[in-house]
Symmetry: C2
Subunit: 412 residues, 2 copies
């Protein structure tokens, strides 16, 4: 499956005539198909996915997802403005930030975004520095209440959200300040491949909605289950079955919400990685081979284009275009050119024999790929291309130039 690419080596060479390597390329057909699959999995519900803009803050991608009915999960001024410029407005934006300055709240309120507060002190802060919205949401951090779960990690070590006790006070304080519509949010899982955890998260929120509704005499309009659906990075991993999540959440909804007369309750998600991650590829040319204590293949991409392997040691599958079916009888560190020894896309990875001039395809770079790039060592961030449904290719972000890099400098 990992070696089934939406382009051949020849396709890539044709694209490269116009767009030199390295570049990211996104598969529109696959993005749309997957978006529809998520919507279908929750067709039973009043469902809204807010795409996590940080994953791929590229207007053309946001527009495609908008056409599929998605909104925008924005976390900063820049992401709010991006959503606005893409025509994603009003309650199609969910503003989930932390440690937030007043001017960002102001912008979110101006756009009519749903405000998701990360801290109880933001209730008086918002009332004092901005205007308090009619619709308000709070982010819940279950802390040690979910400590037992190894995969979820330790929510009490995370800076996000309110405690269970604070939630009651927070909704009450919001009500006092004029809020009449309420939502509840959490985000406790990241890059998780087991569908069970998303159903458990839904159950946790549904239970909390029931408790808080009774305790506070308020009606909840929605819960936002957060994101965190992972993608299979390694060939032996299996993708999360979105239908399983949708069906599991539906059953929980029936027993925990509908049966208690708490419906209708809209279901929101704010996935990023699973929406675009597997449908983006980093294409890079092999420019060097080096044999010292290990075998190195040098490519023209670097951590400037993809940080995750160097920063987290994350596995990203790598194909050699046109050699997909050759045996992996060599072992290479595929490296970028940063003066940082962690600037490697693979370490001791079994791969087919690679030659200078080959094209490597680094998989699953459609989310948190280009967006995390830096300019360290004076490296320029690459272009982004869209492989459109009709097979043509569109430049959706141009490559940086030295002038961009030096834009904030005055040499005089």
């Amino acid at each position: 499956m990992k070696n089934q690419l939406p382009f051949t080596k020849e396709d890539l060479e044709t694209i490269i005539e116009k767009h030199p390597t390295p570049f990211h390329i996104y598969d529109e057909t696959a993005i749309r198909k997957n978006a529809r699959r998520l919507n279908a999995a929750f067709a039973w519900a009043d469902f809204q996915e807010y795409f996590a803009v940080k994953a791929t803050p590229t207007p053309r991608i946001l527009q495609i997802l908008k056409e599929e009915g998605f909104g925008a999960d924005a976390s900063s001024m820049a992401e709010l403005v991006l959503a606005e410029r893409c025509g994603i407005l009003g309650e199609k934006i969910m503003f989930t930030s932390n440690n937030t300055p007043a001017y960002e709240f102001d912008k979110a309120i101006e756009l009519g975004a749903i405000i998701n507060l990360d801290d109880i002190t933001h209730v008086p802060f918002l009332a004092e520095h901005c205007s308090f919205p009619e619709l308000i949401c709070f982010r819940y951090n279950p802390g040690p209440l979910r400590d037992g779960n190894a995969i979820i990690g330790k929510p009490e070590e995370a800076k996000y959200g309110l405690t269970r006790e604070q939630l009651v006070d927070a909704y009450r304080m919001a009500k006092e300040r004029g809020a009449t519509r309420f939502g509840l949010h959490t985000m406790v899982i990241s890059n998780e491949l087991d569908a069970t955890y998303f159903v458990e998260t839904a159950k946790m929120l549904f239970t909390l909605v029931a408790e808080l509704s009774a305790e506070l005499g308020i009606r909840f309009e929605f819960v936002n289950l957060g994101g965190g659906i992972g993608v299979p990075m390694k060939p032996e991993e299996e993708e999360v079955n979105l239908e399983t999540i949708g069906e599991g959440v539906r059953e929980a909804y029936e027993s925990h919400i509908a049966a208690k007369g708490l419906d209708p309750l809209a279901i929101f998600m704010e996935c990023g990685r699973v929406i675009t991650g597997p449908y983006g590829y980093l294409i890079s040319r092999v420019i060097h081979e080096k044999n010292i204590y290990k075998n190195y293949i040098g490519v023209d991409a670097s951590m400037a284009n993809l940080m995750r392997p160097g920063m987290y040691g994350a596995y990203h599958h790598l194909s050699v275009a046109g050699k997909e079916d050759q045996p992996n009888d060599m072992q290479y560190d595929v490296a970028g050119s940063l003066c940082e020894n962690n600037d490697k896309f693979t370490i001791d990875r079994p791969l087919p024999k690679i030659d200078i001039g080959d094209l490597v395809v680094i998989h699953d770079t459609g989310a948190h790929g280009h967006s995390m790039g830096f300019n360290y060592n004076g490296k320029l961030r690459s272009a982004e291309l869209l492989l459109k449904e009709d097979g043509s290719v569109e430049l959706i972000r141009r490559a940086e130039t030295l002038d961009d890099l030096f834009a904030t400098l005055d040499f005089s």
Copy 2:
């Protein structure tokens, strides 16, 4: 010592009237004093420091260091162009790159830079694709020959340099292609506080120069000891005594070079961190306080301004301006606003009681600080200021704007 800042809280508030937080500020007086100290420690030698541009690629800083006699260690096209635009030219540039494209070699040769080759295959590559320079240097990777040394790490895991065997062939091949002047380089230590290791590195290179001179019948003009001199990040750590390094290298030079008639041999270094690191500070305003399962202080800086704590878990000392003498009787995670839980400058750090509106001073950000920043979550990279010798403040890099962030996009 860590709490002796070159500015008071009042100074900072005055600066902030014109330059809003967050920003990096560099202490010109301290940078110059330290640069002179390094030059003095090697006054006995024909010495040249090549400042590692990647540490602080800011023209005004490069110009100050140029005035102190330093050259530029460039690793990429952008760094070569920066050096050029700062008037650092010819053999005042050392081009130490890896996995290098031909156009970067061309630029380095055009500038008359010293070319430091990272791989033996670059000899024919340079001859074929560019022109082969008269003066050539090679980077040595001792590999398992220095495996025994725990602090140095495992050079054989590093992608850099040539093996001992390759060196002989490489110089011979270079000679055949017209090289008449030779240098030898290594870089096997990073952020090291023990002066001994730098003297050992010098001895290793001096020994190698003697062996290679005899073996090849060539005369070496210089050795480049690399960089890697660390800075004391924690209050209890002591700075490296540059004079001890200078004196140790001198003794090794006498016994290993002069006594063997191999002099004169120039001594080069390519330090970055120790040159500017301790003399830069990231200044940020406290905008939020949050108490959930831990106590959080939210500031207006983030990983966009300083990656090292979030990326490596690196310790950076943090002072609260005006509270330098107060007891550290609180414990805080000081966090930025990224939607990444590792966006924290401190974790469980004992600090004085912090209030909203306080200014935090994050230390040792003068190298690998601003230069490693990214735009993830749509965060903008901050300005850089220079605290000049006369006490005035100069803007040496403006803050990014949303227009900068969106410069590579077309919203139409």
